[in-house]
């Protein structure tokens, strides 16, 4: 395991600027998740670290060594691809053994067998070792792909949305599993996803990527509670944060310069209006079982928040809404730092 550094890395494909001036340090043993919408440059970042792309500018360092110009085989990384992860002409066993057989390693037969079997157990695929890779279900393939990365101990593991093709239940399991494995191995891991739950639950630090730029990086808690701007704020939280224009609701005490108020469920107090005075009207309630999504109409705006499953509110009810320490953003969408009151 080793520390990995990107210094001012830029990469364009023709006219498309995939990555711009990226500075990122992944400490030894750290689990960093890059979160961003499609086309943000997540895959490109991983490929730059792996050596599958050459940066136009900047440097890549692994374990303090400048590998900017080194080929992938000389970099000691593993990569779990977004798709096409397994060699289709090989069995599961052969897929797992493939990295160990490489000319760079040339491991003995017994050692290979030992490692493959241990890894297969780790990702719970040991009952399918003899199957052809193409005969597996999507979830099994994904586990073999992760296994192929885990079968050796590289400087850094790179994973490109490795859980995206799994069903919700398996994804939740694998999430825990992956985090457990990473902690057990003390692995350095750069993980890419557009799933905020994966980012929140697994990351030591989350990096928010947008249009090839790293907007903010920090612990999940920090990114959630102190987003640098409205873009970062909308990346985290379910349902998405409500961005309301200043003045829509009574907002005395908000910092000067506030133009947009960001309100998640915990920033709102909603009560059934008692005296006919009302800020909004309940439009519709989505029942999710363990909780509800409450849709409230504020004039021509709409606000969505969580409410407990036994909410006394019903569609058509008039409600009073008050802010409770919301996030405040200026005219450019930047967070104003301080809180109300």
């Amino acid at each position: 395991m080793a520390e990995v550094m990107l210094r001012g890395v830029a990469k364009s494909f023709g006219q498309t600027r995939a990555i711009e001036g990226l500075d990122l340090t992944i400490a030894d043993g750290e689990f960093v998740v890059l979160l961003g919408p499609t086309g943000a440059g997540k895959t490109t970042t991983l490929r730059l670290v792996a050596g599958l792309e050459r940066p136009d500018a900047g440097r890549v360092l692994i374990g303090g060594e400048d590998v900017t110009l080194a080929p992938p085989s000389a970099r000691d990384v593993t990569f779990v691809f977004q798709q096409y992860s397994l060699y289709p002409h090989l069995s599961v066993y052969e897929n797992l053994a493939f990295p160990l057989r490489s000319p760079a390693r040339r491991m003995g037969k017994d050692e290979i067998k030992r490692r493959v079997e241990a890894t297969a157990k780790l990702v719970r695929i040991d009952h399918k070792l003899e199957s052809r890779a193409t005969r597996l279900s999507g979830g099994e393939m994904q586990r073999v792909a992760i296994g192929r990365a885990l079968v050796r101990q590289p400087a850094i593991y790179l994973m490109d949305e490795p859980l995206s093709s799994l069903d919700a239940k398996l994804r939740a399991e694998m999430r825990l599993e992956l985090k457990r494995i990473q902690q057990e191995l003390g692995a350095t891991l750069l993980y890419v996803t557009h799933d905020q739950i994966e980012a929140m639950t697994m990351a030591d630090r989350i990096g928010i990527l947008k249009d090839g730029e790293l907007i903010q990086i920090g612990t999940p808690r920090k990114i959630y509670t102190e987003p640098r701007n409205t873009h970062v704020a909308t990346r985290l939280g379910q349902p998405a944060i409500n961005l309301l224009p200043q003045g829509l609701l009574p907002d005395a005490g908000l910092p000067a310069g506030t133009k947009t108020v960001g309100a998640r469920t915990e920033h709102l107090r909603i009560e059934k209006s008692a005296n006919g005075q009302a800020d909004g009207v309940v439009d519709w309630i989505e029942h999710l079982g363990d909780q509800n999504h409450l849709h409230v109409k504020l004039g021509d705006r709409k606000l969505i928040t969580l409410s407990p499953p036994d909410t006394p509110l019903a569609p058509g009810d008039k409600v009073m809404i008050r802010y409770n320490n919301p996030l405040c953003f200026d005219a450019d969408g930047n967070w104003l730092g301080g809180r109300a009151q």
Partner: protein, 316 residues
Amino acid sequence: MSLTTAHSVIEPTRTSKRIAGAIVVAYALISMVPLFWIFATSFKTPPDSISYPPKVIFQPSLEGYCNLFTTRTRQTREYVDALGPATTLCDEITRRRNMVIAGPSNYWPRFINSLVIAFGSTFLAVSLGTLAAYGFSRFKVPLADDLLFFILSTRMMPPIAVAIPIYLMYRELGLSDSALGMILLYTAVNVSLAVWLLKGFIDEIPREYEEAAMIDGYTRLRAFWKVVLPQATTGIAATAIFCLIFAWNEYAFAVILTSGSAQTSPPFIPTIIGEGGLDWPAVASGTTIFLVPILVFTILLRKQLLRGITFGAVRK
């Protein structure tokens, strides 16, 4: 609406399946008639082979095959009768026509020339084609489209148009009537087809496989060998058959550039002359045997071929 007309929109109906089946069978029959006729003729006697009206039912004879493999001289009846008992079936058949076997014909040497030249050039064309196709598919080749078009354009000329210049060049180079010359020539012709076909197949193989292998510690060449080649086998097999069929059947270059030791079967077979004109049963037996290698090769590779000829449209 009656129940019998209900059918899935993607499954062909029974009627359309039957019509399609009938067309295929009819086409197969029509295209097999000449092959059958050649096969039948190879077992006729020379008089039967040219009788009019043509004989469909006849007494089979091996005279055609005997004449194909031997050269014979005519003798008097007395001379033939004075010889000892015939030792082989061909001896006997030949003597009935007042002839004796003088020695083996050139059929096998020509056949072996064909094998060496066709398989040799196919191997070279497919090997070079695979590497070139991989390069065009994976790397930014300057002027790639123009180069590819140029490669294809070498196929647009009829062979006869370039045969004479090549003949003159080969004479200067000492390559005329040599197996090496023919292998090089057929390789040059086939490599264009191979590059085009194989590029299509290799484009279909996601790059991620090689990239994964390179990250796993393999060089690009090894990754190509270990990961790309095994997945391109279908395309390689289909391409090899196309190249082989061309090289095996090629006539125009062969007739101009080979005459003696490097002559291939196609120019040789029509020259099998019997007494008083062409010996049709011998020509037919020569053709029948000539068909065997392609048949065997195609049957051996038919699985790959079926998938390959659809050019990736039907994927497993």
